[in-house]
């Protein structure tokens, strides 16, 4: 599903192409599942949706929790089509349980 979206939005890009890497902060169950609190992933699009696709491929064991998570960019909740920069601070926000 992610691959198809990439082809539609990138036009000339081939399925395996990546445009760069981003660092992603992970918390709670996402960090536990990944075994780390920060991950660098190769993305095919500099968007929140692009990061989701990269994480889905990298962390298949966390796909269910990822699908229920929001993504924050530079300390704010981000929309799926939000464009990122190479130095954007990206964080996956799984369902919260404070209080």
């Amino acid at each position: 599903m992610c691959e198809k979206k990439v082809m539609q939005q990138n036009g000339n890009s081939k399925p395996g192409d990546t445009v760069g890497e981003v660092s992603v902060k992970l918390f709670a169950g996402m960090a536990e599942s990944a075994g780390t609190k920060e991950l660098r992933v190769a993305v095919k699009r500099y968007t929140v949706a692009g990061v989701r696709c990269a994480l889905e491929a990298r962390l298949p064991q966390a796909a269910s929790l990822l699908s229920r998570s929001a993504v924050a960019v530079d300390g704010r909740y981000g929309a799926e089509d939000q464009v990122l920069h190479s130095k954007s601070e990206i964080a996956v926000i799984p369902p919260v349980s404070g209080g």
Partner: protein, 158 residues
């Protein structure tokens, strides 16, 4: 006036309450959440809290601003504990002052509900039988868009 902090140290609840006292206020409410020993038959030895600090602060400021509009609160202070919180210890303190008690009670309750939905803080339940991060299933009536981003809603007006 709004104060927010995340702390690894025990919360001084008297201090939190004292920060919302105002000559304009006739009501001051302090809520404290504590680590419960048993949840649905599962024994908890302690909880561990983690947070994404920049977004937690931003979300709490947003909730405070909403609470001012909805309940006309005067002052508010929110302190959340991080790290290990033993049974009986305070994990969160929310203090609110308002002109009258109805707004003070309602706003404290509303703030707690919103914090538990919107603010990126997570608890890990540690017990003899099992240890796990708590990630609640999203309820259908929660005010989030399809990306999981909290939305402002007037449905929960008092």
């Amino acid at each position: 006036m709004f104060q927010f902090s995340l702390t690894d140290d025990p919360i001084d609840t008297s201090l939190v309450l004292s920060t919302v006292v105002s000559a304009s206020a006739g009501a001051n409410v302090l809520f404290t959440g504590t680590t419960r020993q048993e949840t649905e038959g599962v024994i908890t030895n302690w909880l561990e809290y983690d947070a994404y600090k920049p977004l937690a602060e931003r979300e709490c400021v947003r909730l405070y601003e909403q609470a001012v509009r909805k309940f006309r609160i005067i002052k508010c202070s929110i302190v959340h504990r991080l790290g290990k919180v033993s049974v009986g210890e305070v994990s969160i303190a929310v203090a609110v002052s308002a002109v009258h008690r109805a707004e003070a009670f309602a706003s404290a309750s509303w703030l707690l509900d919103r914090i538990k939905e919107d603010v990126p803080v997570w608890k890990r339940q540690v017990g003899d039988a099992q240890t796990f991060w708590v990630h609640p299933e999203q309820e259908e009536n929660t005010s989030r868009d399809s990306n999981g981003v909290p939305q402002e809603s007037d449905n929960d007006m008092p």
